[in-house]
């Protein structure tokens, strides 16, 4: 199969969806670049599948416009939109062989048998299914089934590839392998891809751009790097990263950010209440810093995660390289590098410090 030069931009323009009187997606606008791999990430029930189904045409929009390659498609049938979809539980036709499953769309489109067979074999080769074409889905493993589903999607050479949690039925090891394959596949095929997941590892590793959805609203739309290092809101900060970012309520007096008991955590010109965020791996163990008591330690081999209690009683996570001189001690003192401190508004959850200088 040749790389498709047909990748199309998807523009969502104030797209809205409600089921009956329940609004699921308030007006949402975003542009997914041609040929990009966009991952839609969010907690369960936030409307990821609904958004994907609206792009596919399986679910009508309540309001707004969807443009694919500049054409307004929100009123088109799925088959006319040039999208193909891979479903979470494969959705293969159980009574058809692998070859028939892959070729069904071509058959419906009335493509001659010879060409059909050639294209089915081509698609099967891309996902390394060549010798299983005569089997039925029931005789395949989960990973093989998902490959069939992917082959079925790419056989029509779609402008847009849609994935709805395609890896979540696979075990961890297989998932890693399929992730790599999907990444390679995307580079080969080049179709604009939208990939829905609630697994942040999938999002960080696969995405060109991550769209974080919360209750139907876009929390942040950016590269994995931006999402991780400049979370736009408290929601994103808490959602991305494992162990999660430490979030501490502080009060700024114009020179420093202080705990309620007055202990200074980091220097800042901020005045008023705020939520301070810092990732566990960015905390430094220093000679004369913030005193903390180790409550619990988890040795993960490559590194250790410590749960420590601050003077105010709040517990936070600290990631340290294994074998640091703190491991045996009960007490340690912490330093919060200013460049890695994130500040959020406690009421709106929006990011307060917008300095771009604090990369890495």
């Amino acid at each position: 199969m040749q790389p498709a030069s047909i990748a199309a931009e998807i523009a969502l323009d104030a797209v809205e969806k409600s089921f009956g009187n329940t609004p699921v997606i308030p007006p949402l606008s975003a542009t997914l670049g041609a040929g990009e791999f966009t991952v839609v990430l969010g907690p369960s029930g936030c409307g990821k599948s609904t958004l994907l189904n609206m792009i596919a045409g399986l679910e009508p929009v309540s309001a707004g416009r969807i443009r694919i390659d500049g054409q307004e498609v929100q009123d088109w049938e799925p088959k006319d939109r040039g999208c193909a979809m891979v479903f979470q539980n494969y959705a293969l036709y159980p009574h058809m062989t692998v070859a028939e499953n892959i070729g069904y769309a071509l058959k419906v489109a009335g493509i001659a048998r010879a060409e059909r067979q050639q294209r089915v074999e081509g698609a099967a080769r891309v996902v390394q299914l060549g010798d299983l074409l005569d089997r039925r889905p029931g005789q395949l493993s989960g990973g093989q089934r998902q490959r069939v589903a992917i082959a079925r999607a790419i056989v029509r050479e779609p402008r847009v590839l849609l994935f709805d949690e395609p890896l979540s039925n696979l075990d961890a090891k297989l998932r890693h392998g399929m992730r790599m394959e999907l990444s390679h596949l995307h580079r080969r095929i080049g179709a604009t891809s939208v990939f829905v997941t609630h697994d942040q590892v999938e999002a960080m590793t696969l995405a060109d751009k991550v769209l974080i959805l919360n209750e139907g609203r876009i929390e942040q739309f950016g590269t994995p790097h931006e999402i991780y290092h400049f979370p736009a809101s408290l929601f994103v900060a808490g959602f991305i990263g494992a162990p999660a970012m430490n979030l501490i309520e502080v009060e700024g007096d114009g020179t420093a950010l202080r705990l309620p008991d007055g202990t200074a955590l980091a220097g800042s010109a901020h005045r008023g209440r705020a939520v301070l965020g810092i990732r566990p791996e960015k905390l430094r163990i220093a000679e004369d810093g913030l005193p903390a008591t180790i409550v619990y330690r988890e040795d993960l081999g490559s590194h250790a995660v410590l749960v420590v209690r601050l003077g105010s009683g709040q517990e936070i996570n600290v990631s340290t390289p294994l074998g640091g001189d703190t491991v045996a001690a009960d007490q340690l003192s912490l330093h919060l590098p200013e460049a890695h401190v994130h500040l959020f508004d406690p009421a709106s959850g929006q990011r307060l410090n917008v300095t771009q200088g604090q990369v890495r």
């Binding site: 399986l58 088959k79 959705a91 009574h95 489109a109």
Partner: protein, 305 residues
């Protein structure tokens, strides 16, 4: 079983054996009597020793009674019931499950309610309607005054008369009216992954294409099960065919079988012939069950492995 002791096994086997005997006893009597001549039956009464007159008895039934013709009637009626029922049940379930119908739940409820109103309950009304299927139309025309208007305008009094008594349609139609099949298909469709229809839509298949290429092939076992159940229902129903068909030529085999015993109470019935008739009436449904057994079980368990 949790416990696996010998004595328990033996007890279970004995209970099973008793049950089997209990069920088989009348069948054995039927079978054995059908092989005896009328003379030996008159001398010995019912016995357990098979005779050699089965073929002769079949000949008697075949040549002197209406049963062959009535068997044909039964086949036609039961097949009509089964086929039409499969068609209606499949399409209604398809509509209920795969389309967002307003009031779909209420409609399905009404379909199910038909099961609470068996034919025996609405017997007389059914008969009235069968005697003139235009009756409801006449009533409606009356109710809205159309009959009156037409009569005053043209002098013609509308009163349509179409009877389906004594027709195959009249025999089959009332037996069709229940929701079991719709329920069966609906439950089966709901066990299928919801994404299947979405995948078909993405592949460009419209509703009819989805029905034809995917749903029907997947429902084969359910069709077989429903067909057999409805065929048996049509074959064994007695009361409705008894009143809906007034001539022996239109009666079904089960009704005809009951008519084999003589009306005259003083006469000793030709039991061997009657039992032979009973065998002949049972052979077709038996053969059907034997052939379709596997599908019936699969079609009724609702879950695919």
């Amino acid at each position: 079983m949790i416990e696996n002791t010998k004595s328990l096994d033996r007890t279970a086997n004995v209970i099973l054996a008793v049950g089997v005997l209990y069920i088989l006893f009348p069948l054995v009597i039927t079978l054995v009597t059908a092989t005896q001549s009328f003379e030996s039956f008159l001398q010995n009464g019912f016995s357990f020793i098979p005779g050699t007159y089965l073929l002769e008895n079949i000949q008697i039934v075949w040549e002197t009674t209406q049963l062959p013709r009535q068997l044909l009637n039964s086949i036609i009626v039961a097949t009509m019931v089964a086929l039409i029922k499969c068609g209606i049940a499949f399409t209604t379930a398809f509509a209920i499950v795969y389309f967002r119908i307003r009031y779909g739940g209420i409609l399905f409820g009404m379909v199910l309610v038909t099961n609470l109103m068996p034919l025996d309950l609405r017997f007389i009304t059914t008969y009235q309607v069968a005697a003139n299927i235009m009756m409801p139309v006449n009533a409606l025309l009356d109710f809205f005054g159309i009959t009156y208007i037409v009569q005053t305008l043209t002098g013609y009094r509308m009163n349509f008369q179409v009877s389906v008594l004594n027709t195959y349609f009249g025999l089959a139609a009332p037996l069709l009216a229940n929701g079991t099949g719709t329920f069966l298909f609906r439950q089966y469709f709901r066990t299928l992954p919801a994404d299947l229809s979405k995948a078909a839509r993405m592949d460009g298949a419209g509703p009819m294409r989805f029905l034809w290429d995917i749903l029907i092939p997947l429902s084969r076992a359910n069709f077989a099960a429903l067909f057999v159940l409805m065929f048996l229902g049509g074959w064994t129903s007695y009361l409705w065919p008894l009143v809906a068909a007034s001539t022996p030529e239109m009666q079904t085999a089960v009704v005809g079988l009951a008519r084999l015993s003589p009306g005259d109470p003083g006469q000793i019935p030709h039991y061997p012939a009657i039992m032979t008739g009973a065998l002949m009436v049972s052979v077709i449904p038996l053969a059907m069950i034997a052939l379709m057994q596997r599908h019936i079980v699969r079609g009724l368990t609702l879950t695919e492995k």
